[in-house]
Amino acid sequence: MPGGAERVLRRRIGSVKNTKKITRAMELIAATRVTRARQRANAARPYAEQLTSVIENLAAGGADIDHPLLRQVENPHTVAFVVCAGDRGLAGPYNSAVIRSAEREIQAHRADGGDYKIISVGRKVKDYFTFRGFEIERSFTGFTDNPTYEDARRVARVVRDLFDNGRVDQVELIYTEFVSLGTQRPVVRRFLPLESTETISEAGGGEASALAGFSFEPSPEGVLEDLLPQYVEARLFAALLEAAASEHANRQRAMKAATENAEELITKLARDMNRARQASITTEIMEIVSGAEALEEDAA
């Protein structure tokens, strides 16, 4: 069928071009979202730093009390894993990298004879663990690409309740750390119990005002009691923002690769199409020439 192959190829080129338009658009959107997510992470930093510096001052003022959030348990039996990934795919290895390191942690803990609880943030996490027959304690979806402080508060409250009621002995937070635009890596961080106030203040690195002699209202213990839950929320919020920035960066890279693949495919298909067209033209010329020659032979 002359021209048939050419038509089929032309149609395929059209559809690859459409795909390319979509992946290119997604790449650009992801790029702007990375910037915004990083801005929000930067905007959240002063608050976290100030909170840490208040804890520093409290520690300097000698308020190291027996707060439930600081209570260490030896040989924790039940550990809660807060796994933060995305609601959507199309982000390269982003979701699977977090989920894989979470599963590894959980399996290692089970191998030691421990029990686990999963708190999933992001639809992909929930889908994966449900499919694999894991039990999910609580799941949150719908905000992973643009988390607000209110979202962090909701998750933190669930986690804190589990810990306060003694239903879990320890909480691990698994998310993707945004190192730079080119590098993001899944990390596992101890979330609860918190380190002692001294450790927080050493790790804080904020302006350690060596000004002793603070007065506290209502009391050092009272302030700490209000402060630690806030600190938990702020840390979770920071983790969610980093995860969101990582998700967008991964999506940007994945979509860039997809756009480039589409371009390559278009070039290859265009070449095939040209070849097919040339072949059909050659065939036609051959037919005309051989027809003409046959007529000449007749005339002779």
Binding site: A44, Q50, S53, F216, G222, V223, E233
Partner: protein, 130 residues
Amino acid sequence: MSFTIEFVSPESVLYSGEGTMVTARTRGGGDIAFLTGHEPFIGSLQTSEIKVTEAEGTVKRFAVRGGFVSVAGNKVTVLSDLAVPAEDIDVKSANDDLADAVSRLSTDDLDAFAMADKKWAELRIELAAS
């Protein structure tokens, strides 16, 4: 005489500049005003109004739902995870929140969350009106 004031929330820095006075209400303490040279202080805030008097004398008002105030050196820092400048208060949503909290209290009059929500809604309505 002025000092540096910083008012930060997790999503943004609400205020940063020079001022002459900050008033707040601490938990268990009542109203407290800070002027330059105040002793180092850390307080836990109630759901209340924060007033910042700027160097030129204008007064900025904020509604906070809890938080902390810290005074060290010549600097006052206010931290709150939920705070709005008085001029940005959405009265309609505050009224909705109030109605919602009242209806929750009518089913359980010891619901601590509903009580806190009610107080927060009332504070915003009061600040927006004045």
